[in-house]
Assembly symmetry: D2
Homo-oligomer: 415 residues x 4
């Protein structure tokens, strides 16, 4: 890990640490204490909880474990803000997170300042191993920043007043989507997975060989306009397009459109806005993505196909200020576009271990491996993914019915 921990100037890691910690605070700056305390469903968490949990992560795995003499801000917080680390003991039941009106948002901010100061004070003495944990903590917090955005969006979407957290800052483009073109992918033995240069989560390793059959990927994402055609053609009423569980889910929950569509508009962090036909469809479940692909005579890509195609690409930008985010239409251009930065792309691959996968040891080892059932992989990144958090090997994952993330799809087909 290329950290200059001896120099006078802030190291790149310290800069990253400061930037990450600051962005979290910026994201909640327009939230009231009440906004930041409510939990809209068991899958989501209060914004305050995200601020607190990421701080608990740092105070536990850095300060408690590696900085002698650190006095915890409040010993009771470990019970409140541990998420799912069995090795770290009992914790508050997940659906009860919304009942924690105390500590207040200001108290959590004070805790953050306390922990940040302690880490900075200890910085010069942290070993490479511990700095690697700090780096993990940054990536961990970036993940929670995206969840914080999607969770407050979900909360506000259930409020009949349709509140907007941010001003609208994107004009709705008048331009239509470009026609979909197919880009042939690599075939035969290809290598995927993280190659140990730079940060990655354990589940992205080890790098290994897979065999790809002849195939092609769409050059851009599926659009809102195309989704309207799917609906108009009876997509949500045609059982033969759907997985059995998906059909049952759609019937039980009366699903007839993406999560935040409201008539001709779509709800977002800037409130209710007209639907942009050229922009990528978002907030759809795996079940919907898979049904759409069947309807279109295509399929979803596998994660290996996606990663092979994305190899060498990276996100041009990313979330680095607090503002309303919405996925944008693909501009004109050649080759694969919209691989990063618009919506996470459902793949046909279950989230499972790579050959030779070994989870990290200790509590940190609970990070990924224990979720390897019942989930599908999403690739790329979204308009709510923090800057610097995207990479071609990244494996995001959710259950097939979940759709409160910025999730969409790119088509694939056999050749």
């Amino acid at each position: 890990m290329p950290l200059d921990i001896t120099g006078r100037r802030p190291t790149p890691l310290l800069e990253r640490f400061r930037r990450v910690r600051a962005l979290s605070l910026a994201l909640v700056a327009r939230m009231s204490d009440a906004d930041a305390s409510a939990q809209s469903m068991p899958d989501a968490s209060p914004a305050k909880w995200h601020l607190a949990h990421t701080t608990w992560f740092l105070e536990t795995f850095i300060l408690r474990d590696h900085v002698a003499g650190h006095v915890p801000f409040d010993r009771r917080y470990a019970f409140l803000f541990n998420s799912y680390y069995e090795a770290e003991g009992d914790r508050l039941a997940r659906p009860a997170r919304g009942l924690l009106t105390r500590p207040s948002l200001d108290e959590i901010r004070a805790w953050r300042a306390h922990v940040d100061a302690a880490i900075e004070a200890a910085w010069a003495g942290l070993s490479d191993e511990v700095l690697a944990l700090v780096e993990l903590g940054c990536h961990h917090e970036e993940q929670h920043q995206e969840l914080l955005m999607t969770d407050i969006l979900h909360l506000f979407s259930l409020n009949p007043l349709a509140p907007a957290l941010f001003e609208a800052d994107m004009p709705v483009p008048a331009e239509a989507a470009t026609p979909l073109r197919w880009i042939e992918g690599a075939q035969g033995a290809v290598t995927i997975g993280h190659d140990a240069d730079g940060f990655a989560f354990d589940c992205e390793t080890p790098r290994h060989t897979v065999w790809l059959a002849p195939h092609a990927l769409a050059d851009r994402l599926v659009t809102n306009g195309e989704w309207r055609e799917f609906i108009a053609d009876g997509g949500y009423r045609t059982a033969s397009l759907w997985l059995s569980d998906g059909w049952a889910w759609a019937r039980t929950n009366a699903i007839t459109a993406p999560l935040y569509w409201r008539g001709e508009g779509a709800f977002g962090l800037d409130g209710l806005r007209p639907l942009d036909d050229a922009a990528p469809v978002s907030h759809i479940s795996y079940f919907e993505a898979d049904a759409f692909a069947h309807w279109a005579g295509a399929r979803l890509p596998t994660e290996a196909e996606w990663e092979s195609a994305a190899s060498g690409m990276s996100a041009a930008a990313g979330l680095d200020t607090a503002h309303a985010v919405r996925p944008r239409a693909a501009g004109r251009g050649e080759g694969l576009r919209q691989m990063f930065g618009e919506v996470w792309q459902w793949t046909a691959s279950a989230y499972l271990a790579y050959p030779g996968f070994r989870p990290a040891t200790g509590a940190i080892g609970e990070y990924n491996g224990k979720f390897m059932n019942g989930q599908f992989v999403l690739r790329g990144s979204s308009c709510a993914t923090p800057r610097g958090h995207s990479r071609a090997t990244y494996r995001n994952f959710f259950q097939p019915h979940q759709r409160w993330q910025f999730s969409g799809l790119r088509l694939a087909r056999d050749l």
Copy 2:
């Protein structure tokens, strides 16, 4: 209705109106926006919701219906803050009340001010019929004041930090409870129910005759100390003491003590405090009260027995400032004590219509009559009941498993 609506000085009703509206604000003064927005269970509501719903009641049934030209503060609030009035149209699902982080507590305060000002401005022109609705609105709000107190207590009781809303203001008395004495009640034909002098809810009428068998009531409430004996004697483990549904409820929910007992302490609005053996047991369900009475070789009083005994009595005091409330031990004295102002007293009577009962017409008629199944009557009043809200004919009611109110019991027996 003895209202002097022509005089210069504020009429008693106007004074009452102002006092009621002010007390609600006082009760939430120490709550954060988050405290006031959270909902701990479907039975409870956020404090902010209580403030808003009582305001909706006034704006709807007074200003909208009877004051020409009134402009509603926000037309969307009717959907948010109607509780259960079918005649008033659709409304937010009850369990979703805790998701309304907007409007904020301050916005609700502004709405209250707007409505209060409009009512005061219209006051001189309000007919007697409308003033009767104002009086109903005051009593309605007083009911919600008590719920506001019990709901915030429930929310805080689920917070592992055990926050205290108020300072402790009651020393735990060292004195033991006085020995229980039996006071013989009236027998034969007695008359109960409201006699049309002063305010009453529709369900307290009409006044009618009932026949009482020979019986006696305990001169004081059952105490925490007596409840400890019940527990020590295996009360919660002895099926034969319990109603069948009660036994199932206790097993399913692992009930082994009153709701807020925590070891040797009890949680309250002043946080965790030592248990006072001489004080009345509180926060018990009908199921528990009934089991205790069986264990004690006694029974619960009927509501007619209770009312007959309480006839002519009234509460000495009541909640009129924001402070921590806890039921207090009975002092020495003769005759029936603690009839009002400590804990609501479960009776053996189901909540049903009196002979000749007629609900009010219109939406107001949904106030009581439609809840007449599955509930038991509680009589008296509690330490959280606003001053002036108690009377001998009052019929409070809850389901037999509910116990987040200040609910206790007084024993009765056949003679």
Copy 3:
């Protein structure tokens, strides 16, 4: 208890015992082993289970407790066929009764024969106290005979083949219902409850005084034809007619007609048959009965009003052979008709203890008292009630949403 237990001839009690035991077998004679083993819902039990449970009752409380040397048929059956007697130890969870495909119906018949023979063999030596338990066992089994009929009806009603257990044996009468007339009831102090002459369950005692306000009862039951008017007038769509819980129940379960109505027909033990407009409506819940009464500008009678009016009346007949039963239209006549033998009549009274009520001691004491919450009293008897099981003091009870019994209503009103 006036039993001639010394004579040579079978005593009246022995005759009753034999008749009851034989009727149970007759009722299941046309059922297959599968019919007799299935459980259609947790509220219902398999026919086989009824046969077995009533036998367990006799083997336990008569033979085990009072006949020296009795060897139980199979010691494992106590666990399987105890219903709810906590004092008798653990038992099979109620919803699992339908999984007991073994023992077979024939094995249960063999057990019945074994127990019957043992009781007859011991008869001459049974004390009066034990003979009272035999009598209780007869009444207990008669209750289960009615449940057996209603449970098999419910099971068959869920079978898309609409099977008929019995041949149709009642022509649908062409005659219209007689116009409803009001019969004035007693007022002031009246006495109700069992007076200790003949058998009664503990909950019918003690006899006591109640005070009745001026009122009248309808001379006949509400008919199917009248219920059609209620439906046509939007009865199931008018919230203001309903209790709050009833409205929620009707919405959640999409209730729009009595339980077994199927278009213009009604399902019964003789299969699907045309609806008879003049016959009493049946298989309605308390919620529906109460809403109908509101719609009709009337109310349900209290149990005291009903019993006072029925005093001195008794059922002319009753179920004594296995055949299809359906409630019949009221014939012409004067005074109160259809008090017994057609449908149980919902009253406005909650099922609670009479003043001075004391449950029996021991396991038998669990018979009634422990169900005294959340239920309403039904009076009279139905076309499925065994002969000799009806009386004016009888208190049947069910929860307000339950309607798989032969339950209907008679109107009352205040004078």
Copy 4:
């Protein structure tokens, strides 16, 4: 498809058809009508339902669709016995299958005879395409034969009488399991999937290339004795061994041993018998198999590893008479043993489409593809798998918590 459909002698397919249809009847010969009608859980079906559904499959897709003039036995049966074919219209809700006490087991047998006779009568005129559907119908019925056995086992396991369907016919061997040896597998590009020679389900195709990393498989299955060590070492109490969902499942359901372990015994179709330490562990979930593999420092094989190793192998025998089945200990021997005929072996592979997979068209196309989420693949076959139904390419699949099948595991590891 190499069918001799012109010869005089019964073709092999006709022989297979007769054998399959006869075996189903043999399997239920010892069941009562009640045994065959009960449903122990929504995942399971009554034996009678299996008999009927397989007959519906033949009557629908062969006789209705391809045999002119066929008169259905009972038109109402399609609604009752369609399983999940959306294209075939509405059907009985799955959890209600146990309420169909009519038609009786004998009526279903008569239906089977009717359909069998019609198919035999039409046989000579069936096209190759239709004979392929007959062959599919045979394989379909074989699948249901295994389910029929596991479903009745589950039902009987819930009966406190622990009934045995069959006599015990296997001595418990005294011999210990052989030491586990590792057999190195193929690596690099290998080909798997069905190659179009002989019958296969659509999901086994197309044959395609996968890349295997260096690995080894255990030469035999994990035994009951080894599972006891896992338990003794706290396997069920050690969160770090488990998937997150698995840990929650085990906690919620109080899982502490394989499904049918009862102390030192195991329940089976021959009743309760002593546990054989050398026999393969059976009736475990994926969650348990995965936790065991972690505990053992190994992992589960992928389905490609398993199939590559099994290539060219086939089951020596299979279920072809009605008798008690239990998995047997591995005998001595070289190389991979117990690949077929003992327990299905959980793999680490999610059940997903092979590259280039295309489901069959029409209702038959609902057979496999629509279940491709949330399930893991099991390979091999079990002691309850009919003879001739096993093959190396076979992909069985269940949800990770399900364990009422004969499911066990074989360990694998990376090299």
